[in-house]
Subunit: 217 residues, 2 copies
Amino acid sequence: MPPTRKYEQRLRAQAAVDTKRRILDAVYQQLVDAPSEPVSLDKVAKLAEVARSTIYTVFGSRAGLFDALGMDLLHRGGFTGMVHAVLQPDARQGLRDGIRGNVHMYAAHRDVLRALFSMAQLDADAVGGAVQRLEQGRAEGMNGLARRLHEQHTLRDGATADQAADVLWLLTGFDSFDLLFTGRRLSTDTVTATLADTAEHALCRPAPDTRQDRTTR
Amino acid sequence: MPPTRKYEQRLRAQAAVDTKRRILDAVYQQLVDAPSEPVSLDKVAKLAEVARSTIYTVFGSRAGLFDALGMDLLHRGGFTGMVHAVLQPDARQGLRDGIRGNVHMYAAHRDVLRALFSMAQLDADAVGGAVQRLEQGRAEGMNGLARRLHEQHTLRDGATADQAADVLWLLTGFDSFDLLFTGRRLSTDTVTATLADTAEHALCRPAPDTRQDRTTR
DNA sequence: ATTTCGTAAGACAGCATGTCTTTCATAAGA
DNA sequence: TCTTATGAAAGACATGCTGTCTTACGAAAT
């Protein structure tokens, strides 16, 4: 039967939010503690001090849980600041600041993002649409940046906006970051410098004033 | 008790090799048919027309199977030709030919390699050491190429051999290929051109004669 | 003719997922 | 204060996959 009287939540709604948080934090922690072994909801439930069935009532499914984790990172992980960095008036500076912001964000959540991206590759609907949405936003951002680099006559001779979009898409991807960060054990600053230098040399005409070679290792 | 008399295989050894082949082909096929859903040994066994237990007696474990698949690709996938491409006298030409060979190999086995690499990231010992060995070979190859680019004075001013090795490592990775090939739906030729152009502009002094901008899309 | 070994067939335990039902405690409404 | 809606716990259950083990057969080698 339908509810016979209205019933607005106040305190208990907050409790529900807390439960959600505890569960999300538990998955996050589980991935940080054991980055390269499979996550079972049983462990997550115990870590969050929650019944395993509660995960299902709150997130609907395993995929829903990881989808929520992705959205959580998207909102709390500094994505919005990065978007603003890319959108600043000077496209060339936007390129560098965007890459820097990107790398910092990737580095801060490396293990969790690695798991999310790999899961998405391996099992299409294992993480809901979180990764897809995230990547689509990045694609649009890089297309826009490429167009603005072109409009501001920053691209080198022979480079088109389309080509620039491809290269930017490549160099701002999580995998590119991780290939250098984890694969070559470079610091975040060195990764930033490497990616930014590569992008500028590949796409832009020689800089008028800025020195663009990384110095630290 | 130990074998009481010597017993050399001839015909049956060949049959064993055939069985092994059928199983490896079945996993390969399974990954090509359903690239983004988990593989169960049950399906593989049915596809290979083999008892599931046979997979264990032949490969020891699930990880052993995928490890063998990786080794199989390494030997039959054209890796050796690629190594020779990189090692030719002219380092700069080795760079371009190496990238071209790399991309062709990645494209020919895209789905299977995607699965192997993602599995390796997600679960450390899910594919044995196949991916690690493969990647270590690539790392050494790129270190050597970077050194030779440096010795032949091909690197642009301000670029060191170490930096070149980092960038080459990045641009010859499977993930970089796939970011462009699958993520941007570029053809293998366009991916080759994009990666090679990016590498040259990022690392080399301006080419004396060769035109180095991709034309096709 | 006898022995060895690759393979089939299947039982079994362990673990994870997903669904469902029952129960409890607590805050909101009356 | 009394009732009701609801978040959450607890746990049973079916399903599917992995990994190990045992038994049995048939064909090739001796």
